[in-house]
Symmetry: C2
Subunit: 747 residues, 2 copies
């Protein structure tokens, strides 16, 4: 019914209420098409274009709009008057024909914009010639020769890229529509577009009719082409799926891929990618009929998605590498430029978005882009996006776990603790329940491998996800979370993982310099419950501390491994270890076979500490080892004959018992001033970690620092804020209300 | 006699000519001391200080002088009115007492400057109190408890740091001299300074009387204290060594540690460090008596040293890591700020230095600093230092080989090929004869390990050079040059290495986009001659190519290894290799024991190619393997139990024969646009490498590219520019004049 509610807004309410199910399609299409829209209208219109022309003539040297216009013009002008190649597709990603078709759709789109802004027909001619070439080429295409997945494309190795082509080529078509003769339009619609639309909606029907980012692109492509070519059938399929019933299609994708908070289930890297077709198609729908109020759909879900994905970036702008994610992507990527500029136009001025726009240092050549450009010139822009502690629920109803981001510090001293207790995240999800990542001073400190892929480099497996992506990067051992018996969560079965999600137990961010969050995972391993409670403390004797209480509770003894993928140079350890003369692997499967075992130690009491240096700051991981703990240092690189992986390092704590507790402190300290050759506070302050009580009801523990001691108690079975607790440990009685207790004492 | 020539300039020429040898010391000292200098005079004087006060009151928000003043003030103000600790020395580098004494001398120096600029006595009081504490402490000191070398210090673990203390504390003393009572001066001179001077010149006499950067610091320290305290004896020892005979001491250090071009034999990293005492002491001497014209000594050798060391930086400002060198040091280091500001004052305005000063973004609070600050505000500053192709000779007479830096491209596209055919470079020298390093786009592409050291981090071997520095970093295999029989040049014997140097054979930089240099090393291995000819070509079908012809000519068969330490991710190879299931080391000694052997291959014909990605650019090394060549891929990390080394990679070509030729092409190509997911020109253009003729007289070879072929001929025994050559290869006759021939042909 959701789809209908949207389309209803186009219609006379009385009429709809009477004949809703039957009449809605006819009526809405009447509204869109009978209004005889003057092209272009999907991205910009004639009137706006004349304003843009004025804006490009400004004398303001710091007009980003003008700069962006000049850059676009420079790129496009290189091709004006030339016979642009529209090659028969043969190469995989990164190869010539792949890159050429990719370049071509952007060229057509940009040339279309320039045609409208400048009024110069040479730009329209460029687009027309290319469109007509595609009109000849596309009907001849079959499945791409380099296709390796069932979701093959025609122009490209995968259908997704064909959908990209449709989005931009559809917009380009609208942009030059008035320049074309009726015959040319007909050639293009039948030759260039129809084969692509038919291929995706008929041959690739199963792929098209999905709730997945690829299908968002496909819906947007077909919808934009439909709007540009006044094709009711296409628009219907775009909005409601190939059967037009609304279980899939764009509206269902808006309804089902985000949580109510705007968290995108595939993770921030993928929403970066998906936000573009969402925004571009919504924008086109909105231009076609503002009464549809698509941007207000689901309580402004697209605005929430944008803000949520920006909160899920590190202070250097890179997206937190949850699930499949390339670390080099940041919020200056083209997708976010487009999304922010469209959002500005629809949702109004936002000082947070302006901080990002300033770093992007370019805008789209549309109304939002011009608004942003003007605001960048007239406002004082902060250096950083307004990062804050934020929890985002996962799942359509917001009840499938989520992502917690706990933050301390400001500006360049911002620290972020990312805690993932979400659902699987579809096919791009990793087996990383209850995993954490830590960022500090703009750098990854405890890292997630991200994905194994060199997108766009043909020599690297055609630019596709490398085999090592599933074999290593997605496996549990590649994450900062517990692995049982050297086997990934859910046995590495995505479908199984997709059935379950972790759950938050409690969180509290109300105390100054003290934050806490706890979550539980009960399905990753049958018969084992994993529970991780994280405290993030600031300004404890001048330092930041993460206290990590990770308990495994099983019905039998198992081997439990907890890795910390530290990013930096080893400075020192407080324990002795042996290093082998020849290196062997850390294990045989589930990602272990990619790790060299560089060192090992057995600790039976006290704490094991590793201090490392990341850029100019020291970090120490201190872990309680009072129950016998094996400690390993590993490095990625084994069984990687094509050198596809980066040689990253980890420290792994291993306990073999029924229900071990991993109690660790991640300490951020000091400063290495290489210019002046000074190091400050390069030593850990953690002296002792003690579990004082551990039973079904309560865990009580103490962290002894140089000057202070921190006493914690956590309830294990009652997380009610109103619950009261009373324990006596070491003849001290502790009483508290709610799920946890904390006290700092001077030594 | 050189020393005398300097001091002569102070004197009445007639007088000197009559009684030169006897009277010169007396006379010069008369000039310096009888002039009854008004303190302060060594760093700034009262009149200058009042100008500086005005400059700090400017409203110009971009005055670097003002900013630097405010930063200094902020740092010093934290200590005003406090009882600053002057602890009894117990810790090694990086420890509390080490860092405290280091901070103390800078604090005294800066407070002394602020006292003069602001006129506020609280700053002088701060300095006085600290000096008096040192006056109490220093007489009690013996050899530092953490001393591990024979060159122990008193305040610090090594004498060098004590010398650092003397330079700045001596300047601080001069700066507050007028504030002190006669009694206080006496306490300080006898208590704080004399024990240090005596210790260095008597106990550490052998160390003090050397031609070495440590001793430059010591001369400067003692000389500055001598000038500040009107102590003739100290100044004499500073200038002429403890016996005042001039074989050592500051003047001899100016005469013997630089080549006539200003190349400092220990390399750019060390001149960065040594330039500071050279400049500060010369400046003080110049203020004491400008007639001495110390800055003109040896044809402005200090100016040449400064310019030469700046030419030996990468475009990101980091010093080329020749010999022992930490890569994080760049030209924004404090030493270079001081050197550039003093040089500005003495040698006049220099637009090249201004580019560096702009990046330093701070100035010293002296006359040169103010001049630079004003010029930064009123001049258009280029983005890059005026880098150029430059050869610097090594050796006092300029006849001990040298360093060639071949450059192509401009600005951010600058590429630098660094070729080291110099002498050993004293104790910090590496066994790296004929080694090359390649930099491109600000990044290291073929790298030198630099030194193994974490300076200032106590946990890392007290911040000293790590054992792995001599065991690995200094060994030949750690460099991009030939290793014979897995043994370093000169058997790793520094004294032996110091006896010999390589020699340049020829070079030519007169053709556009074509540069060539050749050098020979005949002593690294007895009975083997190593000869390397490098061509650096730009704009060959749009790419840059380094052609590397490296010939070993021996009296017996040996195993020759040529590593290329490539910096980047493997993209592809054109050859098959095997990777082992367990990793073993590449060898047993001379640095080989630190390398894991990750892959190996045997090639018997054609070329072996490795393409790698460094940041956003592709590079391919193509090497002719027609005589049987073993190819290895290695990674650092074996036998490194404390994880002191970085896990860097190399490709090693091994040929076992009497006189092999290693003929390689280093190709810079393409671009990886991660934002837009495009890669351009990611494939090598090198199709074939062929040696057409190889005999005692001539080597003729051809590089076949996609579109062009490059024909080269090199003379092997006659490098005379006038020599004529005539060979016929493959029925083509080639005639040329001079040491080489080059022709580009279309395919």
């Amino acid at each position: 019914m959701v789809k209908l509610l949207v389309w209803e807004q186009l219609l006379n309410p009385v009429f709809v209420l009477m004949y809703k199910n039957i009449l809605v399609y006819i009526s809405c299409l009447l509204v869109v098409y009978s209004n005889a829209q003057t092209h272009p209208f999907l991205y910009l219109n004639k009137q706006e274009a004349s304003t843009f022309l004025q804006a490009t003539k400004t004398n303001e040297s710091n007009s980003v709009f003008k700069q962006s216009f000049l850059e676009t013009k420079k790129e496009v002008d290189e091709w004006v008057g030339k016979d642009v190649d529209v090659p028969f597709p043969i190469d995989p990603a990164g190869g010539y024909t792949h890159d050429k078709h990719k370049a071509n759709y952007m060229l057509m789109f940009n040339a279309g914009i320039l045609y409208n802004i400048t009024g110069e027909s040479k730009y329209a001619l460029l687009v027309k010639n290319m469109l007509l070439k595609y009109a000849v080429l596309n009907p001849t295409l079959k499945k791409h020769p380099q296709a390796t997945s069932p979701f093959a494309g025609h122009l490209f190795w995968q259908a997704l890229n064909d959908a990209n082509w449709m989005v931009y080529t559809g917009l380009a078509y609208d942009l030059v529509y008035p320049y074309l003769s009726g015959e040319e339009r007909s050639k293009i619609e039948i030759g260039a577009f129809k084969p692509e639309v038919d291929y995706l909606t008929i041959d690739m029907k199963d792929w098209y009719d999905r709730l997945h980012n690829h299908s968002v692109w496909a819906s947007a492509g077909i919808g934009i082409i439909g709007l540009a070519s006044n094709n009711k059938d296409y628009v219907d399929m775009a909005l409601y799926g190939s059967d037009k019933k609304g279980k899939v299609g764009f509206i269902a994708q808006m309804d089902n891929l985000f949580s109510p908070d705007g968290y995108y289930t595939e993770g921030p890297y993928y929403v970066r990618y998906a936000i573009l077709p969402y925004m571009l198609f919504a924008n086109a729908l909105d231009k076609a009929n503002p009464n549809m109020k698509i941007f207000e759909h689901r309580d402004n879900i697209l605005q929430k998605a944008l803000i949520t994905c920006l909160q899920q970036t590190n202070s250097n702008g890179s997206f937190f590498p949850l699930n499949d994610a390339l670390k080099e992507k940041d919020f200056t990527s083209n997708e976010l430029v487009t999304a922010i500029d469209i959002a500005r136009n629809k949702y109004g001025k936002d000082n947070g978005l302006l901080t990002v726009a300033k770093k992007q240092n370019r805008v789209t050549l549309d109304k939002g882009g011009l608004l942003i450009s003007n605001e960048l010139m007239t406002n004082k822009i902060e250096n950083y996006f307004p990062y804050k502690t934020i929890e985002s629920t996962d799942g359509v109803l917001g009840n499938e776990g989520g992502i917690g981001i706990l933050r301390n510090g400001k500006g360049e001293n911002l620290s972020s603790l990312v805690y993932k207790y979400a659902s699987q995240g579809l096919g791009h999800g990793h087996f990383d329940r209850l995993s954490i990542n830590v960022f500090d001073k703009g750098n990854e400190v405890l890292q997630d491998y991200g994905s194994a892929r060199f997108i766009g480099i043909e020599q690297k497996y055609g630019g596709r996800y490398l085999p090592e992506n599933t074999q290593y990067a997605a496996q549990t051992i590649a994450h900062n979370t517990i692995v049982q018996d050297e086997t990934s969560h859910f046995g590495g079965d995505t479908e199984l993982g997709q059935k379950y999600h972790a759950n938050k137990l409690f969180s509290d961010y109300n105390k100054p310099n003290f934050q806490v969050i706890a979550a539980i995972e009960e399905n990753a391993y049958k018969g084992t419950q994993l529970k991780r409670t994280l405290f993030f403390l600031d300004s404890v004797d001048g330092r930041k501390y993460i206290i990590d209480l990770f308990a495994a509770n099983s019905n039998a003894a198992h081997q439990f491994d907890l890795p910390f993928h530290y990013n930096g140079q080893v400075v020192s350890t407080n324990f002795k270890y042996t290093t082998p003369k020849t290196l062997g692997t850390f294990g045989k499967h589930d990602g272990y076979e990619f790790l060299w075992k560089e060192a090992e130690a057995i600790k039976t009491n006290g704490i094991a500490q590793l201090t490392f240096l990341n850029k100019d700051k020291f970090y120490t991981v201190s872990t309680l080892t009072s129950d016998t703990t094996n400690v390993y240092l590993t490095k990625i690189g084994a069984n990687d004959p094509s050198f596809n992986l980066r040689a990253e390092t980890s420290i792994v704590f291993r306990k073999t018992k029924q229900s071990p507790i991993f109690l660790s402190v991640v300490e951020m300290h000091g400063f290495y001033d290489t210019k002046n050759e000074f190091s400050y506070d390069s030593y850990s302050n953690v002296k002792e970690i003690k579990v004082l009580q551990q039973d079904e009801k309560t865990t009580v523990f103490k962290i002894v620092l140089n000057k202070s001691s921190l006493l914690f108690a956590v309830s294990n079975n009652n997380f009610d804020e109103k619950s009261t607790h009373d324990v006596t440990v070491l003849s001290e009685r502790i009483q508290w209300q709610g799920p946890y207790y904390y006290k700092k004492m001077k030594n």
